[in-house]
Symmetry: C2
Subunit: 231 residues, 2 copies
DNA sequence: AAATAAAATTGACTATAGTCAATTTTATAA
DNA sequence: TTATAAAATTGACTATAGTCAATTTTATTT
């Protein structure tokens, strides 16, 4: 397996979903929709929420995370343009298990709940698209469980750095997923900022990376991949 | 939230799925089906498998788990009568990410792949049933991520014991999920047998549980629930 | 631009939960 | 039933990665 596809295991794309959606369905969905605006750090979606519709991110990026009784957080993945949420809760008629918070200013489109559920009742195409999509979401979570339970902290951090590199540093500005701060990066890797800081320091000494503020520049990608114990 | 529903977060039921399935669809599915028999400890399904159909457990129980490059395992959940697998891989046209191994002798029915995919093409009812089901599977995984990343080993072990108690000890023989050995129980809790053994010993001294071989008898359920930090 | 808050780093320390090895107990197969 | 293998327990030890506190750096707000 390539390193690129290894990284893709931890996020999912909605491009196929939207590309394969017939225009007629898309128009039907958009009939009853509205827009919401969120500022950076705004909580966009909460555990316990019963969604008022299908929430589609039109602009900006967000983190999807869990919180336990002590208030401790765990980021599961990131959401960006085209990604949506609320669909599973509407389909299963239950409330959200996670929080979503804006990492930068976000614009979110809401497709009215009744409208969405009615379309599901009638369109086998929409059903099939959603079925495939939720199947992909399941795969991401299985990969995350493997990540958290079967990899060491060092492996997880190495993967997280490669993830950020693939999703940010190597891309043109318009395609960048987000600028992540180190606290979120550490959390995404399933560790704490101190441990990430020490790991990065170690990599700097070895000449594997350079750290310029938030930006992590990879000098020796092969070494990082080796540390990640992937492929 | 009740302790019972807390435990249900870590497994799912297919009863609703089968109960809500129209007889006509059920009959169509069964038209091209065959039976397979597995002995205890047989690997029933492997990572990388491209499923030949929908696999439905008719009898027996099994564990669904992941393996990393070093051969380390992580049990995600257990499968029992009525549970099925292979559906997501067929829908998404990809291969399995996990292994399934029989915990006791198992009988598995296989619904032919072509037949299954054809029915999905045509039946909106089947689509909707699967959509809800996969949504539930996703919820279980989200809860598992919360379990692994936001709970301490002691909390996880306490939950695992309560889980086994609810799924085995308190039920009549016919409804019991399985008899789990301590190695699997430890793994399910995300730890190693030594740590589980020490935790159980601790509970014995405090009079919270009695351990008779594989059987863990809970004397002080409230104390365990408190340790699990749930509700 | 200055004031304030938040994030990141670093050092010192330590608990948690792991490894390894030896022994006992339990389960499985000949 | 006995032989063999596997699982469970226990003790001794230790590495990993965490906590806590202080400081520095970077962001954000007024």
């Amino acid at each position: 397996m390539s390193i690129e596809s290894e990284i893709e295991k931890y996020c999912f794309s909605t491009e196929i979903f939207w590309d394969n959606m017939p225009l007629s369905i898309y128009r039907e969905l958009k009939k009853h929709s509205s827009l919401m605006h969120f500022k950076k750090n705004d909580i966009m979606y909460r555990e316990g929420t019963i969604p008022k519709g299908l929430y589609i991110i039109k602009h900006g990026t967000a983190k999807l995370y869990l919180i336990n009784a002590d208030g401790k957080e765990q980021i599961v993945y990131f959401l960006t343009k085209g990604n949506f949420y609320g669909h599973r809760s509407m389909i299963g008629n239950n409330s959200s298990l996670f929080f979503i918070t804006a990492l930068e200013d976000c614009e979110v489109e809401i497709i009215d709940r009744t409208n969405f559920l009615l379309l599901i009742q009638n369109s086998i195409t929409l059903n099939k698209l959603l079925l495939e999509h939720i199947g992909n979401e399941y795969r991401v979570l299985i990969n995350k469980i493997s990540f958290f339970t079967l990899k060491s902290v060092n492996e997880r951090i190495a993967i997280a750095i490669l993830f950020v590199n693939q999703k940010i540093n190597s891309l043109p500005e318009s395609k960048k997923l987000f600028y992540i701060n180190k606290t979120d990066l550490a959390n995404f890797a399933g560790t704490i900022p101190e441990t990430l800081s020490r790991f990065l320091n170690n990599l700097k000494i070895k000449g594997i990376v350079d750290v310029k503020g938030r930006k992590i520049i990879i000098n020796d990608r092969e070494a990082l991949i080796k540390m990640a114990k992937i492929i």
